[in-house]
């Protein structure tokens, strides 16, 4: 880190103007809980850090309007836990936040940073994917909205340009007979990166039996890339929730996963856990929907 410099912009526009011209060798830093260890391990070596951590007035908020929930990119994981918003059919966010790192990390780690890290270990990415989240990316030249599912394009790779900053994450709770749930497996309960984490947003038709939409997302679907389990979701749509449907969906899920092994767990083990979690998530969601109908 010997030739490192820090640029502290006066406001968001100042930051955007700076990265418009000098974005290539710069890295935007919020809390730095992911960036700093990676710099220390020399996995990345930006020459300039653009510090946006003080723009909390512009980028730290949890708002709800017209059924859409909007999170400023600098919203911390602790902010999520303290919000009254993430109970009931959105308790998935709270569940993931509770299992995220540990208090010292949750107090500073941001929603935007977690998404932009785009790593298979990020706890919030599958959750926001299951919720079909949209991302607002801003630059000096304007803004655009990208679905999260199209934002992660590879291992630690995103569709964000060097001139852009993630400003907001937005999503809606599942409509009607819908529920969400989350499961995470690590070597211990706290302060651990996931071997598998899996999120589900499930909506049933008015008969409370037929699946209107199922969105399963995992921290790894192919290699180390967090993504939706597209084939499993297609398979589930329109079917009745039965033991047999779930058993078949588990097989579809296993067939679409292409997982690698590492020191945290083997690919085979991850695939096994992913299937167990699919059943658990389906059962948890249908039980809740049944109880609320």
């Amino acid at each position: 880190m010997s030739s490192l410099e820090i640029f502290s912009p006066t406001d968001l526009n100042d930051a955007l103007r700076f990265i418009e011209h000098d974005g290539r060798n710069a890295a935007v830093i919020a809390s730095g809980t992911d960036l700093l260890p990676r710099m220390r391990r020399r996995q990345i070596s930006p020459s300039i850090l653009v510090d946006i951590s003080s723009f909390t007035e512009d980028l730290r908020y949890i708002r709800q309007s017209d059924g859409t929930i909007r999170l400023g990119a600098l919203t911390t994981v602790t902010n999520l836990l303290e919000s009254p918003m993430f109970y009931g059919n959105l308790s998935i966010v709270r569940e993931a936040a509770m299992l995220f790192g540990a208090p010292q990390v949750r107090n500073v780690a941001t929603v935007g940073g977690n998404i932009c890290s785009a790593a298979s270990s990020e706890d919030l990415i599958p959750v926001f994917m299951a919720l079909d989240a949209k991302l607002k990316l801003v630059s000096a030249r304007g803004e655009r909205t990208v679905p999260l599912k199209d934002f992660i394009v590879g291992k630690r790779q995103t569709a964000m340009k060097p001139s852009e900053i993630l400003a907001e994450v937005s999503f809606s709770p599942p409509e009607g007979h819908g529920w969400t749930a989350y499961e995470k497996l690590g070597r211990r309960n706290m302060l651990i990166l996931a071997i598998v984490n899996e999120a589900l947003s499930l909506t049933l038709e008015d008969d409370v039996r037929t699946i209107r939409s199922a969105r399963v997302a995992l921290n790894r679907v192919s290699g180390k890339i967090p993504a939706l389990a597209v084939k499993t979701n297609d398979f589930l749509k329109g079917r009745r929730v039965t033991d047999q449907t779930i058993a078949q969906a588990q097989k579809v899920l296993a067939s679409e996963l292409s997982l690698t092994s590492d020191f945290r767990g083997s690919g085979e083990y991850r695939a096994e856990v992913a299937q167990v979690y699919l059943r658990r998530l389906m059962e948890r969601c249908t039980r809740q929907i049944g109880g609320h109908s």
């Binding site: 880190m1 010997s2 820090i6 220390r40 850090l49 790192g101 540990a102 990390v105 706290m190």
Partner: protein, 157 residues
Amino acid sequence: MAKRAITINVNGTEHPLQVDAPDRLIDVLRDQLDLKSVKEGCSTGDCGICAVLVDGKLVNSCLMLAAQCDGRRVTSLEGLLEDPTMKRMQGSFIANNAAQCGFCTPAMLMASWDLARHSPEPSDEEIKVAISGILCRCTGYYQIIDSVREGCERGER
């Protein structure tokens, strides 16, 4: 490389400091301000031994750049030595033999003090969550949990 001038309020005193860009909060606290209760363990946010409060929130000082703390308020264990809650917590740690090698003790005390402020009668589950970010290498967690429970209980109720 030019040094950057920042001011951090540490334990109630404003400290004008000169820092390099890569300097972390832990570097400034230990090396410039001689606050040795702040220990460096893993340097990657996994062990929590460097925990301090920044603007009242428990954070890992190894994961925060000093430059990002400009204008903020930092509290380390040294700043709480006269605090009644901290004194009670320390007494409880001593009475329950919560320190084995002692390396994690300052961070455990910071996390416990932070918990006691928010939750005067925590459940064991709350205590476990509160200290979950701090690794005790001796694995003497049960004495620590007992200490935190007692340290909180004797609070002003």
